[in-house]
Assembly symmetry: C4
Homo-oligomer: 279 residues x 4
Amino acid sequence: MNPHSARTAVRRRDFLAGSLCAFSWTMLEAGGLPAIAQSPPSAGPGSPRLIEDLVAANRILADQGIVDAFGHVSARHDTNPNRYFLSRSLAPGLVTTQDLIEYDLDSNAVNASGRAQYSERFIHGEIYKARADVRAVVHAHAPAVVPFGVSTVPLRPVSHMAAFIGDRVPIFDIRTAAGMTDMLVKDAARGHALAAALADRPAVLMRGHGMTVVGPALPFAVGRAIYLEANARIQLQAMALGGPVTYLDPAEAKAVMDSGENRSYERAWELWKQKVQAK
Amino acid sequence: MNPHSARTAVRRRDFLAGSLCAFSWTMLEAGGLPAIAQSPPSAGPGSPRLIEDLVAANRILADQGIVDAFGHVSARHDTNPNRYFLSRSLAPGLVTTQDLIEYDLDSNAVNASGRAQYSERFIHGEIYKARADVRAVVHAHAPAVVPFGVSTVPLRPVSHMAAFIGDRVPIFDIRTAAGMTDMLVKDAARGHALAAALADRPAVLMRGHGMTVVGPALPFAVGRAIYLEANARIQLQAMALGGPVTYLDPAEAKAVMDSGENRSYERAWELWKQKVQAK
Amino acid sequence: MNPHSARTAVRRRDFLAGSLCAFSWTMLEAGGLPAIAQSPPSAGPGSPRLIEDLVAANRILADQGIVDAFGHVSARHDTNPNRYFLSRSLAPGLVTTQDLIEYDLDSNAVNASGRAQYSERFIHGEIYKARADVRAVVHAHAPAVVPFGVSTVPLRPVSHMAAFIGDRVPIFDIRTAAGMTDMLVKDAARGHALAAALADRPAVLMRGHGMTVVGPALPFAVGRAIYLEANARIQLQAMALGGPVTYLDPAEAKAVMDSGENRSYERAWELWKQKVQAK
Amino acid sequence: MNPHSARTAVRRRDFLAGSLCAFSWTMLEAGGLPAIAQSPPSAGPGSPRLIEDLVAANRILADQGIVDAFGHVSARHDTNPNRYFLSRSLAPGLVTTQDLIEYDLDSNAVNASGRAQYSERFIHGEIYKARADVRAVVHAHAPAVVPFGVSTVPLRPVSHMAAFIGDRVPIFDIRTAAGMTDMLVKDAARGHALAAALADRPAVLMRGHGMTVVGPALPFAVGRAIYLEANARIQLQAMALGGPVTYLDPAEAKAVMDSGENRSYERAWELWKQKVQAK
């Protein structure tokens, strides 16, 4: 059975039933029907380097096991802060330059051209709106971080590579923000609530779902996602040993971040990028 | 020593000893002796897309670590609901179009042509008989799910990707159904008991053995098997943290399933299929 | 520094110091000096199929993560039960036909020709001596089984794939057999004590070291090593869930073994062999 | 955003602000500005075998998962004990002969030629200064060892492959040595304190950071790093079983080391090297 046909069939049925709450322009676009809403104007192409890095970021996250078929990564437009780039709805490991869509900060597509869009693009748009310092956003379901999102035990830095955590990673519980939902940050209100839970931090866990990680450039957001996942595995094991665990002191975490050593992920970015480009 | 010769020798000895309980037409077929029973008539070839997807499903499950040399996946015939396709006895990672056998719902082969058959094909036939909504069945021994099949701790959804679980995954204990056995669902009665334990759900654990997962199409059955395994790993780790764990609320699980977002595995199927076809 | 030179230097020093307890004909052979002892006569070449399977077994165990640079696998000669084949001292993943050495059951090499030998070949010889039913032996340090060798918690079957365990896997503690040693089964007395701990079973754990697994043919010994390792991982996780664990009943374990279904590893052997031969 | 530009910008800002504590000749060299300090004289090239092994060691540690983008390995110069070789600041998996820099034991570069240097090179220099027996040093963040660095539970030998541990691995807590820092061993004083914590042992854990492992030759330092990581995983699992754990007796550990069997990693080095050279 063709899964695409199954999806379309479901959508068409909902549409014909006149189910207003299930109906949206987004759904029409995703289904390939002609868009009626006006698209926002383009801010022009991003720099070749930004586009290349965004494609690399997609593939790096897949290669490092942070995303699987789901999850996504975006970059703020480098000449217009009111735009961002994000792939069409596609597994990150398959993303190429041609798959990138330009969005405004309300997550309206400039050039979707009927392509299916990530329903959770509002994660990106609302964070860019709330955080002028953020230029890259990663959303992922990395299995190692999910336990800390459903537990009362906070995710804290046990490794200096995760010093960016500071004292702990906050948790966004969509149930608190929006009641009993389908768990997806698929509208502006939910995206806004997620951005509020993130506040001025580099990462937020999403209960029963995954994480969202941000940074001042793609290597930061990608690198933080990778080392947040590593820190989760290490902390779980440290706690399993049974004795007390020594976390980074907040003063140490701050000193690590202030020193900047290794925190730019420059050395790592070179390795990660070379690895995915050699494939 | 040729393991095939060993197998044949054992079978021949049992046969010569006239061990009636070990004797069956199936065994004769598997051993390459001429079949005396009449094969059921064919319902014609499945659609090329179904056959391609079934071969892909076999290889995807191997590639994703859900099956190893054992385990199998079937699809209901797309033009005759009383037939299904399943590989001859072969490791799923090696399956090609030529290896598929057509079965009736009593799991009699239409065209085995003397090829060895999975002894547990009754898992598939009996579920297709009991569940008109099911069009694909996966049986696997994925190590991460086995612990939940031998424990009193239920497997519950901690990740929205496993919302299909609902409140918990039921366990089929073959000991309850059939006493002290060789653990294999190798006849219709055991298959029927397994289908009863599955009831109207998407998955059932098999104590000391593995899991069986179903869906309305191959991407659903395969995707659910993959994310059930992931959820098992996440839940184990969440519990290991020591504090209380927040599972998906049944209302959330229902909302996720109703929304259909990501639940068709459309995006994942494209990735998984491309990965195995590139090999 | 050339590690080979370092080894040779140490040996030569021991030799010149006249340290009788460190001196042996084996050491002379391993060091490349002319052997004075008479080599036992050859029983002729093994069958091409046995030799091919033994090379495959070495590579399969490496590919499946059961051995790393250490560990080894042997097969009893198929026309003379008083001889067995084992690689020269080499990482199993690198073994080819040319690396195989023929041994008598006292683990004297027929055709070492100055090649370095595994110091623990006595594991193999002494088990072949004690167990006429055994035709293949695997020795490995697979990390997942070592915890059960240093714990008071027995390794028991939680998966039907490890039914061969029976009720539990015995542990050989070399400290009990030989006092404070270098942990290696490097002489006949230690090999004899290990064979006694194995008794009539398919596997034995070695405290602080690894496991030794046997079978009536290479696919059995290799398959059992693979599924003993898998069972160890599953049991650890089942216990980590915190509740009581249901193990296979001894009657179930016996029924699985009696049925022979899957126990010949025929289907698995085809997959494993194809995988290493495609490399 | 180009991460390299970001780094340079930060450095330039610190420099212009006249921040003396952040200013150093090293930083100037790393930033590509002309070095004013006199470089120490070269002791000539290392032997081709040493250089080849050091490049291999970098790639082996990456291939075996002991280092990722971070971590480094050095070798003492084989004709002048007051010099050592270490890569320029680069992910170990990418290191080639051309990337090696010669250092004196104060960790001044002989031939950096403006190339960026590892800020933690003092780990290597200070250990070579303190330990005449050491000819190779590995520093890594292997996730499995970090839990033991932040726990009160000591890392002890449960596997004979880690007999070199002796009774336990000491922990270097940089907080004790230098107060609230950025966790990096980036000057001689910190390197000296680390060497003191290592004392006459083969390995030391670094709290919230990783490990440093030494040996009389590259295969020893690399092999010990690999098996220390394996031992950490095994010990964690053995403890998770819940019962008492039997560690190697110190007399056993000593006997293993005295026997020298397997401890030279000769067999492993051949496998590891062949694997990375085949890539």
